[in-house]
């Protein structure tokens, strides 16, 4: 909308602008083109970005390089993995320019196998397990650990005889997810939350499907995998007929 009418600079540019494949692509995806052409070069994004200066990059520079069609530089800098896509720059920007969206697309442009191994591995694990656990936790282990800890609490702590944990209980109000970290490395951390839910009389259940809270496929910028994981989780909640998908964060 704005592109057609905006005045472009009349001075001879220092860098010969190329058509940026990325900029065009992202603009197509976003309403109002994500305002990506509206940058005032004010620098507010960069001054409040914790990733500024890492690998000699910052959000304003990144956007400028995109705007000038320096696709080779932007698709090769590891900086896209150092921006956390936290959106602070979007919040600060007078034009609400969505730089992290651009970062996401650049991440997605990296050949899959060259993206950081840890993120790739976490996404793969999520795809391989029915619970979508990035740590590769199997659902039967999750259930076993939870039930084991529950028994221990009942045996060793007074007043918790009625404390309950259910799995796959249809019609529960809340479908509670759980970060894999708890069942895998610190199962006792699940107990305080159970106690709170019990105290308020909340009607909740865990599920053996789509229970893991984390999602690294999004960070990997793998749309297909991200969608697969979200579909699995959404279906799990709807199959149980739960009213809320409840996050522990």
């Amino acid at each position: 909308m704005a592109d057609a009418t905006m005045e472009t600079t009349r001075a001879t540019p220092m860098v010969v602008p190329h058509q940026s494949v990325f900029l065009d692509k992202v603009k197509e995806l976003l309403p109002e083109g994500g305002n990506l052409s509206m940058c005032l070069t004010c620098g507010l994004c960069s001054s409040g970005c914790p990733a500024s200066g890492l690998h000699d990059m910052d959000p304003r520079k990144f956007l400028r390089l995109c705007a000038l069609g320096q696709d080779e530089e932007i698709t090769s800098t590891p900086w896209v993995w150092m921006c956390t896509m936290c959106q602070r720059c979007v919040y600060a920007c007078p034009m609400a320019i969505d730089i992290p969206r651009l970062v996401y697309e650049v991440r997605a442009s990296w050949p899959r196998e060259t993206r950081p191994k840890g993120i790739l591995g976490s996404c793969e694990q999520a795809l391989k397990t029915e619970g979508n656990s990035a740590m590769g936790a199997r659902s039967e282990d999750f259930q076993f650990v939870a039930e084991d800890i529950l028994e221990e609490v009942k045996e060793t702590q007074e007043g918790w005889d009625d404390l309950a944990v259910s799995f796959n209980r249809k019609g529960a109000t809340y479908f509670l997810n759980q970060n894999s970290r708890e069942p895998v490395t610190e199962p006792d951390e699940m107990v305080p939350l159970w106690k709170i839910l019990h105290t308020v009389g909340a009607d909740w259940t865990y599920s053996t499907v789509g229970w893991a809270a984390e999602n690294y496929c999004m960070f990997l910028a793998d749309d297909e995998a991200w969608e697969t994981v979200v579909r699995n989780k959404a279906k799990a909640v709807d199959d149980l007929g739960c009213k809320y998908w409840l996050n522990t964060e």
């Binding site: 976490s122 951390e189 996050n247 964060e249």
Partner: protein, 185 residues
């Protein structure tokens, strides 16, 4: 949560449920009197806390209203006078550097450099403990503090809620560390 919320929109996935955050429920349950928390345990102890606003929950999902809920819960369990804010905060908060897959990315040095702002913010508060109600924040802040050789335990909200109600078991205190390890047992 962000990944699911945005994923549902982005991929046009039909669903019949709503997304809820436990933080908002904590606040509601305390307001409704269902969770009888109290900060009495900390009256004499005077242990101070600072609070991290997770980007995924606040800026990227529910905005300042959930940041207010977060403060309401935190103040209810540790005492208003014992909560020391970082600035800027709420929707304008700095990301700690635990998000975006950073902790898994292998860029450890860069991740810590990114977190330097957060570390400074936390140290500037002078608080004894840091509340981090998000797993990535929790891991990242724990690492930043530990790496800097400081002793500021990072705690989950559920730990403090149960502590304040006197129902926190012995094995559920992994993150409380010495000063609060035995309180209310």
């Amino acid at each position: 949560m962000y990944a699911v919320r945005v994923g549902l929109q982005k991929f046009g996935i039909k669903h019949n449920f709503e997304i809820e955050s436990i933080i908002r429920l904590y606040a509601r349950w305390i307001r409704e009197g269902k969770l009888s928390v109290s900060s009495d345990w900390n009256k004499d102890l005077g242990i101070t806390f600072t609070l991290q606003d997770p980007c995924q929950l606040v800026r990227k999902s529910f905005g300042d209203p959930v940041a207010e809920d977060l403060r309401f819960v935190a103040k209810s369990v540790v005492g208003e006078e014992h909560l020391i804010e970082m600035y800027p905060n709420k929707s304008n908060n700095y990301c700690c550097g635990g998000g975006g897959g950073y902790l898994q990315s292998g860029y450890t040095e860069e991740r810590r450099a990114y977190g330097a702002i957060k570390l400074k913010q936390i140290l500037d508060t002078g608080a004894d403990y840091c509340i981090a109600p998000c797993h990535n924040c929790h891991s990242q802040i724990h690492d930043l503090i530990h790496h800097a050789g400081k002793d500021i335990p990072v705690v989950h909200l559920w730990t403090l809620i149960c502590l304040s109600m006197g129902i926190l078991g012995e094995n559920e205190r992994g993150y409380l560390e010495e000063r609060l390890a035995e309180l209310g047992l």
